[in-house]
């Protein structure tokens, strides 16, 4: 068992428990909502009035709980994906991986860090899955490096990651959308070219996309040379 598998297994175990906890919260809050709705129906039938202000407050709070559960469920799915990418279930993690799902997972997993540097991460929609013959963890790593490059110059920008192809090569289209620090981010991404944190045997490159000026293509290929 290597380090990745160790972390992945423990993460998968924790996510399993977290999903169970979320399920209990969802059902308990749901039961309270059911009872509140039943009480509201009875009250309306009796006196034609709705719930009291306090009753309405309780209903609103329960809806907030359900929204939080929904967010937790999405985050759990992303964490589960990362655990699988790390080999939690003992399967081969060398790829291929679904880039659409990887982008979505990254956007969820990095959201908190993004908020800290006033960055917004958006997941671009694709009509069909785009598969790349690479480990999902390496893709996540390259996305995190792009994120770090932007954060290092102050963040404050909106980035969109979309699985795509350029010249028949699978990769991720990175769009720098808006934000007060957009020009700085464009400058640093334009100068990045080859990302530096890939493990031996892999090369990630960030290429400006034709003439758009604010779009890049992140490619990931197996390489026989070290990229350091």
């Amino acid at each position: 068992m290597n380090e990745n598998q160790c972390m992945a297994r423990l993460l998968a175990s924790a996510v399993h428990d977290m999903r169970n906890i979320l399920a209990i919260v969802r059902e308990s809050a749901g039961l309270a909502q059911d009872i509140a709705a039943f009480a509201a129906g009875q009250k309306a039938a009796k006196d034609g009035a709705g719930l009291s202000a306090r009753g309405d407050r309780i209903v609103a709070s329960l809806e907030e709980v359900q929204r939080a559960v929904q967010q937790g469920a999405a985050l759990s799915e992303a964490m589960d994906y990362m655990a699988q990418a790390g080999g939690a279930d003992g399967r081969n993690t060398s790829g291929p991986c679904d880039l659409t799902r990887t982008c979505r997972s990254f956007q969820l997993l990095a959201a908190r860090q993004a908020r800290a540097v006033q960055m917004v991460l958006i997941n671009g929609e694709t009509e069909e899955p785009v598969w790349i013959n690479a480990p999902a963890l390496n893709v996540l790593r390259s996305l995190l490096e792009v994120f770090d490059l932007c954060a290092a110059v102050g963040g404050q920008v909106t980035l969109r990651f979309t699985a795509g192809r350029l010249h028949k090569q699978e990769g991720i289209v990175v769009d720098v959308l808006d934000g007060p620090n957009r020009e700085m981010v464009l400058a640093v991404l334009t100068g990045a070219h080859v990302l530096s944190t890939m493990p031996f045997g892999w090369k990630a490159a960030l290429m400006p996309w034709r003439d758009t000026g604010s779009r890049y293509f992140l490619s990931l290929v197996a390489s026989e040379t070290d990229n350091q």
């Binding site: 998968a12 996510v15 399993h16 428990d17 977290m18 999903r19 169970n20 979320l22 399920a23 209990i24 919260v25 969802r26 059902e27 308990s28 749901g30 039961l31 059911d34 039943f38 559960v69 937790g72 469920a73 759990s76 799915e77 589960d80 699988q84 939690a88 279930d89 399967r91």
Partner: protein, 156 residues
């Protein structure tokens, strides 16, 4: 088909979860029995059962073993997996073993109910095909047999 007609069995070792889920189903007019482990589930399925909502990771006998046993002895019973362990490998294995659907916790109760209804409808159709084969391929007499036994879900 009335809601009470669907004989549901909930199997999960998370007691607070499964008890609350049963209560919510009851508030919607569905009667669901509960089992807290695999062995209890196999005992419970000896009673008439249409749809099982089954957790995978349970102490002792796990959900896969329950699923294998159910599909071997009661192949018409539909099994919906509802698990906190959401790996793709488990999902593929469950479908290969005959699970009707694979849901991850936490799920919306309406999504679960929708799946239960569809699973029940499929079970009725499968039952009709099975009886039809037993009746020598006569679909109409199979329909009559099932009507007599009130298994067609056409009461509503």
């Amino acid at each position: 088909m009335t809601k009470e007609d669907i004989k549901i069995l909930l199997v999960d070792d998370e007691k607070p979860f499964v008890d609350t889920l049963a209560e919510r189903l009851a508030m919607r007019g569905f009667v669901a029995r509960v089992a807290y482990n695999g062995l209890e589930a196999l005992k419970a399925v000896e009673q008439p059962t249409d749809v099982i909502v089954l957790d995978l990771r349970m102490p002792g006998m796990d959900g896969f073993e329950v699923l294998r046993n159910v599909k071997k002895n009661n192949p018409l019973v539909q099994v919906i997996i509802l698990t906190g362990h959401g790996g793709d490998a488990e999902e593929q294995t469950a479908y290969r073993m005959g699970a009707y659907n694979f849901l991850r916790k936490p799920t919306e109760i309406d999504d679960l109910l929708g799946s239960i209804r569809l699973a029940y409808r499929d079970k009725l159709e499968n039952t009709m095909v099975a009886v039809s084969l037993a009746e020598g391929g006569d679909f109409e007499s199979a329909r009559d047999v099932l009507k007599e036994k009130d298994l067609l879900g056409e009461k509503e």
